[in-house]
Point group: C2
Chain length 364, copies 2
DNA sequence: CTGAAAGCGCTTACAG
DNA sequence: CTGAAAGCGCTTACAG
């Protein structure tokens, strides 16, 4: 029995009628084709697609088999139009560490694609006038089902407020719980910095300096507090003249190291805010003829590819960045699916110290 | 006069009827709202959206003004469904150089977003079984309007054939014209390598070695040919024992340098296949106590962030990567818009040498 | 130059 | 458990 079609198709469909439809042809099948093949209404096919419980098991199995056989996948555009969603997630970032972004991207995509989502990327510039409008446009135009926010822009509360207003799900990858736990993937920067402190204390350093990131970043503060407190716990101090503010980049690392190494007595160990900064410290040491780690111990943060490329290789903190991307994606999908489970707690992620050649006992 | 609505809206629209509609409310306007406001049919609004010439100038101006005032942008999903396209471009890559990918991404996005497109990213693995099926799924499911292929996967002809079969526009960023010119953004690797040869010859080196990339990559061959020929032009040779094959990564750089530096006499200059490989050479030199550039000149390729971070900083070839991303995007949009202009020639992009500290005259 | 109708491929009410 | 109708927001023929 063939259902009658109310609206005749605009053009002849390549889809065969009922007889020999075994080949998973390249041609696109629609929900109507599947319905016809299965001798049910498109609504029932729709129910199978959306895993509705209100389909007889036998029916579901038969329809599923047909979908599999002809290689049918529902059109996300049409679904999206009807659902008022897009099956698209966004990644909003302004982090200059390319490897960090790529790793998050790939971690997120691994989870996303498995569930029929794709990822749209949006690099941004917080200092731009169009910063928020651009994101608003992206979210509303594309009806994004959710966005992942990477540090440092993840610390921006205006952005979070905007997304809330737009009723757009989001997850902040961040080092401070600035939001409801369910919106967070937390990296434990404070505890990380404490691990560095412990490492340096164990090596026997007493004149320890730190280059912190921009004071406007919460992660900078977290790392400073964690580092300072942990040193204190071990009877060591971080004197003010041994703390300078950098910008999480190479150039500031050079300049800050210059400052620190001209103190007298100079520090025997420097905890750079991140690997980029550490590379800057390397450069200053190189120019001054200081040997690492004999004359100076250096520790970074991130374990970017740079860390193992530098000579000597850099001791640093490694974050499970891909995992963070995956966790953020999973969290977002849970929200988008509206699975009203118990309120989620924050995903927490633990870095660990990678000891390489740049840290050793003081020789003075 | 108010047009009568044939289908009553499912829910009351927040849009005000005709009186006080000045505020660009957050609520989504549709083409119907604009039509009502302008007192024309939705088809006419559609014509304005699509810049059809068949609209009286006065009408167009009035409708445009209304769209601007209420902040209307057409829904890409609905447009896409009707147009059978998505206003989405894809970026397919397997290049391990994160900074390269990010720069392409941002270059492309700059051009794309201006024209209402977004970018969907797709990292891939040529050695995976699902490599091609995954891309096919991405392209057909999302109805991608085009994809950008980055090296080395851009050299894969099966992938290009697949995209052709799917009638999906693509642009290959590549160093060899493996395709019709209109599908290419060409980086001139051969000429680039020649510049390196010239630099080394000028410095007075005669025992020059090269670490080439995987022989399966066309770019490796290009760089080798370009380098070798250019040396020949200057009366120099690249003896077989001074050419070793690496893998464009750090580890192989270490190993290959080991090999090269154990030759006797050893080379006074090494052209590493890329910056990663050059970093490997640095490490071997470091372990052997060789000073760069006094004992050994090293030149890289890419000008990745690493190049300026190494000590001494690395002389290398810089490619205008962002421009390449932009060019690829522009080319793709031209195709998607079906502007039947004269057949396009390949976009060609020229790298240049960045001389830093790692290259100097031989001291032997 | 402008519009009414049918359609893109899916879903949400609403019935049975 | 299943289906016919109306709708998501836009466009393509086809008329005038």
């Amino acid at each position: 029995m063939v259902k009658k079609t109310v609206l005749k198709p605009r053009a002849a469909r390549s889809t065969a009628g009922g007889a020999d439809v075994a080949v998973p042809s390249t041609g696109k099948h629609t929900i109507n084709d599947i319905a016809r093949l299965a001798n049910v209404s498109k609504k029932t096919v729709s129910r199978v697609i959306n895993q509705s419980p209100f389909v007889r098991e036998e029916t579901r199995a038969r329809i599923s088999e047909i979908m599999r056989r002809v290689g049918y996948t529902p059109d996300p555009q049409a679904r999206g139009l009807a659902f008022r969603r897009s099956f698209l997630m966004g990644l909003v970032y302004d982090n200059p560490n390319a490897q960090y972004v790529i790793n998050i991207q790939e971690g997120a995509l691994g989870a996303l694609r498995r569930n029929g989502y794709e990822l749209v990327v949006h690099p941004c510039d917080r200092t731009s006038e169009d910063f928020l409008p651009e994101i608003e446009q992206l979210v509303t135009r594309q009806k994004l089902d959710g966005v992942i926010l990477l540090p440092p822009v993840s610390e921006n509360d205006e952005l979070a407020a905007l997304l809330k207003r737009l009723k757009c799900h989001y997850v902040r990858v961040i080092s401070v719980p600035l939001d409801e736990p369910e919106n967070l993937v937390l990296s434990m920067d404070r505890q990380s910095a404490a691990q560095v402190a412990e490492h340096l204390a164990r090596l026997g350093h007493t004149r320890i300096a730190m280059i912190v990131g921009p004071s406007t970043y919460r992660s900078s503060q977290e790392r400073l507090i964690g580092f300072s407190n942990a040193l204190g716990d071990r009877g060591l101090t971080l004197p003010p003249e041994f703390v300078v503010e950098g910008a999480y980049n190479f150039e500031s690392g050079v300049a800050c190291a210059e400052l620190l190494l001209s103190r007298s007595p100079r520090p025997t160990a420097i905890f750079a805010g991140n690997d980029e900064t550490a590379a800057g410290v390397y450069r200053t040491a190189y120019l001054r003829g200081l040997k690492i780690p004999d004359d100076l111990t250096v520790v970074g943060f991130d374990d970017s590819p740079l860390a193992s490329r530098l000579c000597p290789s850099l001791t640093t903190m490694r974050q499970p960045i891909r995992d963070m991307g995956r966790l953020a994606a999973e969290r977002l999908m849970a929200k988008a699916a509206k699975v009203q489970g118990p309120p989620l707690s924050a995903s927490t992620v633990f870095p660990h110290l990678v000891v390489r050649e740049s840290s050793g006992p003081p020789r003075i």
